[in-house]
Point group: C2
Chain length 251, copies 2
C-alpha cells in the first residue's frame, strides 16, 4: 500500500502516521492524518475502492484532516499495490466470504477508536465504490459510527450481511448512469433501509457514471465510469454537512 | 392572499413590498422581501404549494431575504385565502389548461426581473409541492433562471408541458414515502431530464412523506403527508448550496 503524501499546501501542518493493525491474523496497514493541534477529535474512517489505496483516497484523507477530523484510510486487503485482476479476486473474496468484509472494517474502526487523539463517541465512515459497501456494512452490524456515507457505492450486499436495525445515519450518492446503481438495486437498498427504520438518504446525480469522484478514472475508458466535477464537488459538500450534523463541528 | 409578516428577529431589517402584476388579464399579487442595503441582488422566485400562500411560504421568503436574496413569493391563483376544495379546482385548471401554469410563472418571473434592485442575470426558482412543478416548468420552457429547486414537488407534467432542452440546473427533493413521488414518477422524471441533457439531481429522504417542510401539515392528519425536521433542515441547506453555486454569493 502506498504511503500518504505529505501535504503540499503551504500553511497546512498535518501529522501523518502509518498504523499497523491486524484482523484474524492478517496484517493490515492504515494511514492516519491528523490536524494540527490534536486533542479529542471527531474521526472519519475512509474506505478505499476496489483498486485499493490510490491518489484519490489519499487526497480525501488529507482533506478531511485539513477540515479538523482525524482521518483514517483503512486497508481492506493487506496487500500492497494490487493489479486490477488481483483486486477483482480480493473483492470477490470479501463479498463472498461471510463476515470477512465486515470484520476487516470493524478491525480498522477499532484501531481508529483506540487512538489517543480520537473521540470514539464521534466517529463516522465514508467510502468509495467497494468502500461504500464497507461503510454500509459497519452501519448494518451496529458499529459505533454515527454516519455512513457512500460515494458511487456498490448496492449488492456481501454474503452474510447482517439484518440488525441501523442507527447510523446513511447517505448514499450515485450517478443515474452508474451500472452498479441500477433502479432495481437502488429500490432494494431503499426497501432494506426502510424495513430497518434507518435515517437514510439516497442522492442521484443525473447522467453521471461510476467513480465520479476520481479524475484518474477517465484514462481507463471504462463504459459507465467517468469523472464528474459537479457531482464530485456537490457530493463532498453533502458529506461534510452530514459529518458536521452527526459528529459536531470539527474544531 | 395574506400579507408577509414583518420579520420578528431583532436586528433584521428587511424591506417588504406588495407587487401587483398581471397575466392574461388576471390580477396577481406577489410579495417581495429585500435584504437591507439593496443593490443588484441575486433573486429567488418562491412558488407556493396547492394551498396557496401560507405561513411556511412566508417564512421561507423572509429567510431567503435574510440570506441576501431578493425573494419574491409569487401568486399562481389571483384568489385570496383559498379553501382546500377551491385549491383542488385551481390546481386542476393550472395542470389541465395548456400554457396556463407556465404563463403565470413567467409573468411572476418577469415582474421579479423588472425590479430595480434585482440582477436579472442571477435568478433562480424554488417551489413546494405544486410550486415544484412551477419551478420545473420554468426550466422546461427555457426561462432565464439558473436553477429550479423543488421541495416534495409534483412529478406529473402539466398538459402541454414543453419539450425544449433544459439549461437551468435542476434539484428535486422528495420523501421516499411521498405518494406523489412514486418510483414510476421519479423514473419518468429521470428519463425526461436525461433525454434533455439537463444538469439534474434527485434526492430521496428515506421514510419521509409529502410536505415534509411544513410543520403545520401534521394537524391535517393526511395519509402520506408529514413534517420531518431532518429532511426540512437538510433540504434547505442543499437548496442554499445550489443557489450559491448558480447565483454566486448573495452578499
Amino acid at each position: 500500500m502506498r504511503r500518504l503524501r505529505s501535504p503540499t499546501e503551504e500553511g497546512t501542518t498535518l501529522t501523518l502516521q502509518v498504523v499497523e493493525y491486524a484482523c484474524d491474523g492478517v496484517q493490515l496497514t492504515g494511514h492516519l492524518a491528523l490536524p494540527a493541534g490534536g486533542g479529542d477529535l471527531p474521526a472519519v474512517l475512509v474506505a478505499h475502492e476496489a483498486s485499493g489505496m490510490n491518489d484519490n483516497i489519499q487526497s480525501r484523507t488529507l482533506a478531511l484532516a485539513e477540515r479538523g477530523y482525524a482521518a483514517f484510510a483503512l486497508d481492506m486487503y493487506g496487500v500492497d499495490g494490487v493489479s486490477p485482476a488481483e483486486s477483482n479476486e480480493l473483492v470477490t473474496r470479501l463479498m463472498e466470504t461471510p463476515g470477512l468484509l465486515v470484520n476487516r472494517a470493524k478491525a480498522a474502526l477499532a484501531a481508529l477508536a483506540a487512538l489517543p487523539s480520537v473521540d470514539p463517541s464521534r466517529m463516522g465512515a465514508i467510502g468509495f465504490c467497494l468502500g461504500g459497501v464497507v461503510a454500509l456494512e459497519l452501519a448494518r452490524v451496529g458499529s459505533p459510527i454515527k454516519c455512513a456515507v457512500g460515494f458511487h457505492p456498490g448496492y449488492v450486499r456481501p454474503r452474510g450481511s447482517p439484518g440488525d436495525p441501523i442507527s447510523a445515519k446513511v447517505l448514499m450518492m450515485s450517478g443515474s448512469a452508474d451500472p452498479f446503481a441500477t433502479e432495481d438495486l437502488r429500490a432494494q437498498f431503499a426497501a432494506e433501509m426502510t424495513s430497518k427504520d434507518a435515517d437514510w438518504q439516497l442522492h442521484l446525480f443525473g447522467g453521471v457514471g461510476h467513480t465520479f469522484t476520481d479524475p484518474a478514472i477517465d484514462a481507463l475508458e471504462l463504459p459507465g465510469f467517468g469523472y464528474d466535477a459537479d457531482a464530485d464537488r456537490r457530493s463532498w459538500a453533502m458529506m461534510l454537512a452530514l459529518l458536521e450534523e452527526c459528529l459536531g463541528s470539527p474544531q
